[in-house]
């Protein structure tokens, strides 16, 4: 049997599985108009605006910088509701936050639950339309806190918990976000999470804000120092708005590679080939000071 023992084999070098940066090349890139429009029951231009920009070609370039995003300033924009109220918007150069750049502010009209709003944008001879209905949102009863160990950050942080009564007779979708002393996150974090009522009971007690779906994983939370002011927002979403957010969140989860499903452009509600979403929401908010 000793003869069975034979020379061991040597292999030389194997250069396996490596990655390199890849740039997609397209024959032509068609610029598309992008609408980011929000109308709520809250006061303030931060909660009521229409932002018009153009798509950018290089997906690898950072586009959240002022000099990069091409803004459309000369569009004619009108919002109206199903009761005949309407408002024509004007472009505002002033902004508090970078993400408001390119905004047309909605001064008077506010979202009222049950009403339907129509957005009409005319730019360079083309008209883009969107319609959105406002769904109601329950009041936040209470905000609690708990400690949570975040594996990725290797630290324990305090996170807010949400209490509210979920109407069981309606199909509801929610958008959740929070601020700590007015600060809503960093560039590592997209501070929105979405929630489908399918698993919610009538009494929602102490749900974590990211218990639905969010883009940021464990980076969703930041520590809440004692004495800081925490504002938690619960907004109503229509099914199409929920799907739009879900589609964006999906981009963070699924990378479009050989092992994942085909990605897709988030399907918004704007006509005529424009990208983006016109969202009308009811918002409920609760402010607490962390003791």
């Amino acid at each position: 049997m000793r003869k069975f023992i034979i020379p061991i084999i040597i292999a030389v070098v194997s250069t396996t599985a490596c990655t390199e940066k890849f740039d997609f090349e397209f024959d032509e890139n068609v610029e598309r108009i992008v609408v980011d429009a929000v109308l709520t029951n809250f006061e303030g231009t931060k909660y009521n605006y229409v932002r018009l920009t153009k798509t950018q070609n290089k997906p690898t370039q950072a586009t959240n910088q002022t000099q990069v995003i091409p803004v459309i300033k000369d569009a004619v924009i009108k919002i109206s509701d199903n009761l005949g109220n309407s408002e024509t918007l004007r472009y505002t150069e002033t902004y508090e936050n970078m993400r408001e750049l390119g905004s047309y502010k909605i001064e008077h009209l506010r979202a009222v639950a049950g009403r339907t709003y129509t957005l009409e944008i005319t730019w360079q001879g083309k008209t883009y339309k969107a319609v959105s209905r406002v769904k109601s949102v329950p009041q936040i009863n209470r905000i609690g806190f708990r400690s949570k160990y975040l594996e990725a950050k290797k630290e324990t942080v305090t996170i807010p918990l949400l209490y509210f009564n979920e109407p069981q007779n309606t199909k509801d979708y929610y958008l959740l976000h929070y601020t700590i002393d007015g600060f809503s996150g960093s560039n590592r974090n997209w501070g929105y999470s979405i929630l489908n009522d399918v698993h919610l009971t009538a009494q929602v007690r102490g749900i974590e804000i990211d218990d639905g779906q969010s883009a940021s994983g464990t980076d969703f939370y930041h520590n809440i120092p004692e004495g800081s002011e925490v504002k938690v927002y619960l907004e109503s979403l229509t099914e199409e708005a929920y799907e739009f957010y879900r589609s964006i969140i999906k981009q963070f989860e699924s990378d479009g590679g050989a092992f994942s499903q085909a990605p897709a452009t988030p399907a918004g509600n704007i006509s005529n080939g424009a990208l983006g979403l016109f969202r009308c929401s009811s918002v409920s908010e609760k402010t607490v000071i962390r003791q």
């Binding site: 194997s14 599985a17 890139n29 980011d36 997906p59 560039n187 085909a262």
Partner: protein, 874 residues
């Protein structure tokens, strides 16, 4: 007196002279399109003879062209009656005509075996040149051929074996086994036939390839692992889903549309290590046959192709074995008689340590400064292991009965950081087949098979909060009986029936630790039964024209305890209620009648035209979100919402052999349309989803193409070139705005070259080259600003073409000396010789520390990969 005598002779001579003259005027010597009775009348006059025959004998005879001038009567009779069913005999000047008695026919049946091992040979041919009659042995080595009585010289041939010529004197039905000797150095090359010399032209089947295991073994192999599935990707019309993966896309079909059979047991996942290797250990394999279209009626269950793989039976004569030590896997195989010439066994095993090797060699390479830039992103700590075990037992009960048992077990552990750092997978197949061959009589052969197949996988998420195990499995139990009936020299029938039982556990999820937020949950099991009957006949219409026609009737019953959603409309979006089914209740049944047709018209020995049509149906499909297939993809049975897939495959081909059958060439054109093809809606949510029907849409697909192949399988220089032009599209309402779109594996051009050259009798060098258009992908075109981030927007579904794929491989095999008892074989190979970075996957993800911007990266699985393996035969 004498004068009188002389005068008489002179008168007679004159008379005869004159009478001759007179008759010459009356009789004709040359006849154009004249009836036999007319010719006979003239012959009687010329040759002074008389014919006698029954009046009806000549009434149905064809008119003849004949010239009798300067010919003897015997010559004339031969000319006139040869090739007819008329027999003549002479009695003086009387010629008696009668009907020839038909030569009696007898049946020669038996098996064709290999001399050295006693293995039955599949597809070995028996040919009688004199009558142009031939047949081939079936999957169990059995043949039956009808031949005229008397001496028949037969040629028996099989790939890689010395052709045998044997004269058989048939006086009754005869049972006889033929043994063929393996071709070794002692044989002259001319004697060793690749196969029946003009099988390419003469065989009725098109879109079918028999790949010889020896050819597969001589091809350059990736990391020294001879791979059956990858060698099939070199054939026209067959493509791979991704670089270095063993999945097959046949004529625009997805990879779940291939019926992959190992000794009749279906293999649900033919991949090891996510497809970089296939589960088939070449040392255990005897024969591989692929059908891309024109599937015989015997095969059903899948839409696009059949890959029928047969394991070796085990040597009945002597013990033999081999050990292979390779770069990433080592193998052992051992076979021999349990009872000499009566029972035998074969056992093979393979174990791979690919992850360990990859980590260590990456380290070494980095340390010595090789490929540093490439290896900068390499992450260690990978676990990629797998094993295979094949077992075969066979027992010859008597001349007419034989039992086989085959089993396969294989399992994978996969954790490869570059692909996914947070999850690992386990998966494995287990199959077993019990088979009983019986020769019922000289014309009828039957094979009854009981098959069990199990596939299961587990998926572990190693994330801090979702720490869970997801597992799923499926089982199939099948019973089938196949009959081969050799009716006569013109008709060979096949018929049979089968019943398949399916049970699928689509998934259950369980937490792996207390800190996991995951709760245990399970999707309901799915049950189905598929039953089928088939019949087909291969009929020789004329010497040149042969038709094989068949029908397959299959029914599928989805049943079992279940709660199914009820929907308001066919788009399955609004649930209006649920319906509960009991365990023995049928939810839905489907029936399909699939006609099959193959035709061949031989223009001559060297040229033929073939056409085929097959309708196919498939009752279960793989819900795969990935382009290359993951073991974790879910098999899904047709149900209330998802109809079975069906396809119509048409093909037309021209086959030509050149230079005494040394070169074989073919052109095949095909068109395939497919119904009830499914795809996922945008952003489908599949995870533990009990209402999958809401996430998928179904529609139609079509594929067409042209396939070219030139092959040389004899001589020192062997190889083939194949080229395919093809186009595949799907059109599904609700996906890509209802517009047609290409599949991910739609590749317009595909070129494969495989060449090998015997430098000496022991040294073989080979090379292959493949080129194909890149696959299709849904790619990010750009970004748009939305609430503080910049999400991507994309092309249409699969609207972007990946870069072209091309690769060159080499191998050098040093064979052992024939006379040695211990035979060592070295194989050196270089995969991807010019270090092409072929895209395996392109992914786009958010940059670290910046959620607003994303980058795209390409993963290429392999750069240049040299390897060595050593095989010791004993």
């Amino acid at each position: 007196m004498k004068q009188k005598k002389i005068l008489f002779i002179v008168i007679v001579w004159f008379a005869s002279l004159f009478s001759g003259y007179g008759q010459e005027k009356l009789a004709q010597y040359s006849f154009q399109n004249k009836s036999i009775p007319f010719i006979i009348e003239n012959i009687e006059k010329v040759y002074q003879c008389q014919f006698t025959y029954p009046s009806e004998l000549l009434s149905k005879q064809k008119n003849k062209n004949i010239n009798i001038k300067n010919k003897s009567l015997n010559e004339v009779l031969k000319l006139l009656f040869d090739g007819t069913d008329i027999k003549y005999s002479k009695k003086g000047s009387l010629i008696i005509l009668s009907k020839k008695k038909e030569k009696q026919k007898f049946i020669l049946s038996g098996k064709i075996l290999e001399q050295e091992s006693g293995e039955t040979l599949i597809g070995a041919t028996i040919y009688c040149q004199k009558y142009g009659i031939g047949t081939a042995s079936n999957q169990f080595g059995f043949f039956s051929i009808e031949l005229p009585e008397g001496k028949n010289e037969l040629e028996i041939s099989f790939i890689g074996h010395a052709q045998k010529k044997q004269t058989i004197n048939l006086t009754k039905n005869l049972k006889l086994n033929f043994v063929l000797e393996q071709a070794t150095e002692k044989f002259d090359e001319v004697v060793v036939t690749a196969q029946a010399a003009n099988a390419n032209v003469n065989n009725i089947k098109m879109s079918r390839t028999k790949v010889q295991i020896e050819t597969i073994k001589s091809m350059p192999s990736f990391l020294g692992e001879v791979d059956v599935m990858k060698s099939l990707q070199m054939l026209p019309g067959v493509q791979s889903s991704g670089d270095a993966t063993s999945n097959l896309n046949v004529r625009g079909g997805s990879f779940d549309q291939n019926l992959i059979l190992l000794d009749d047991a279906p293999i649900y996942n033919p991949s090891h290590a996510l497809g970089f290797f296939s589960v088939f250990n070449a040392d255990a394999i005897k024969n591989v046959e692929v059908y891309k279209g024109g599937q015989p009626a015997r095969y059903g269950e899948r839409l696009s192709s059949v890959v029928d793989i047969r394991m070796k039976d085990g040597n009945l004569k002597k013990y033999e074995g081999n050990i292979t030590l390779g770069t990433i896997a080592s193998k052992l195989s051992f076979e021999g008689p349990i009872i000499k010439d009566k029972a035998s066994f074969l056992i093979t095993g393979r174990y791979s340590y690919a992850g360990f090797v990859a980590d260590n060699f990456a380290d070494i390479a980095y340390d010595i400064g090789l490929f540093r830039s490439d290896l900068a992103n390499y992450k260690k700590g990978n676990k990629v292991n797998f094993y295979d075990l094949n077992l075969k037992l066979n027992y010859i009960i008597d001349d007419n009965n034989r039992l086989f048992f085959s089993a396969y077990s294989g399992r994978d552990n996969f954790y490869f950081k570059l692909i996914n750092e947070k999850s690992s997978m386990d998966w494995g197949n287990l199959t077993s087949t019990l088979r009983w061959n019986k020769i019922i009589n000289k014309r009828l052969f039957t094979n009854t098979t009981l098959v069990f197949s199990n596939f299961d996988y587990s998926y572990y998420i190693k994330d801090d909060i979702r720490d869970f195990e997801w597992s799923s499995n499926l089982q199939e139990v099948a019973l089938k009986s196949d009959f081969d009936y050799y009716h006569n020299a013109r008709n060979e029938m096949k018929f049979g029936l089968s019943v398949n039982y399916h049970r699928i556990n689509p998934g259950e999820i369980a937490p792996r630790s207390d800190s996991s937020i995951t709760k245990y949950s399970k999707l309901q099991d799915n049950y189905g039964i598929e039953a089928a009957v088939y019949i087909s006949n291969s009929q020789k219409i004329t010497d040149r024209f042969r038709v094989e026609y068949g029908l397959r009737l299959s029914s599928f019953f989805r049943f079992g305890e279940a709660t199914m959603n009820q929907y308001a409309s066919d788009n399955y979006s609004k649930v209006v209620g649920v319906k509960k089914y009991k365990s023995n209740e049928i939810h839905k049944s489907y029936t399909n009648l699939d006609p099959r047709l193959n035709m061949r018209y031989s223009i001559n020995d060297r040229n033929s035209i073939k056409a085929s049509y097959a309708r196919t149906s498939q009752y279960l499909q793989l819900l795969s979100t990935s382009s290359i297939g993951l073991p974790t993809d879910v098999w899904y049975l047709a149900d209330l919402y998802t109809k079975p897939q069906t396809a119509n495959i048409f093909a037309l081909g021209y086959f030509k052999n050149l230079r005494s059958n040394i070169y074989e060439s073919s052109i095949e054109l095909y068109y395939k349309n497919m119904q009830n093809q499914i795809d996922f809606i945008d952003n489908a949510d599949l995870f533990l989803n009990s209402s999958i029907e809401q996430e998928i849409k179904s529609g139609k697909g079509w594929s067409y193409g042209a396939e070219f192949m030139i092959k040389k399988s004899q001589g020192k220089f062997k190889g083939w070139i194949s080229y395919t032009w093809a186009k595949t599209q799907l059109k599904i309402n609700g996906i890509n705005k209802g517009n047609p779109y290409p599949t991910r594996y739609d590749k317009r051009n595909d070129l494969s070259l495989m060449l090998s050259y015997d430098l000496t009798k022991r040294l073989v060098v080979s090379s292959n080259f493949t080129y194909s258009t890149g696959g299709a992908l849904t790619a990010p075109v750009g970004t748009f600003a939305f609430q503080g981030i910049s999400p991507n927007y994309y092309t249409d579904r699969n609207g972007y073409r990946l870069p072209d794929y091309h690769r060159l491989d080499f191998s050098l095999i040093l064979k052992p000396k024939e006379k040695r008892k211990w035979k060592g074989q070295w194989a050196f190979s270089i995969y991807n010789a010019y270090n092409r970075h072929n895209a395996f996957s392109i992914y786009t993800k958010a940059q670290d520390y910046n959620v607003s911007a994303s980058d795209s990266h390409m993963i290429y699985m392999f750069g240049i990969v040299p390897s060595i393996s050593y095989k010791l035969k004993f």
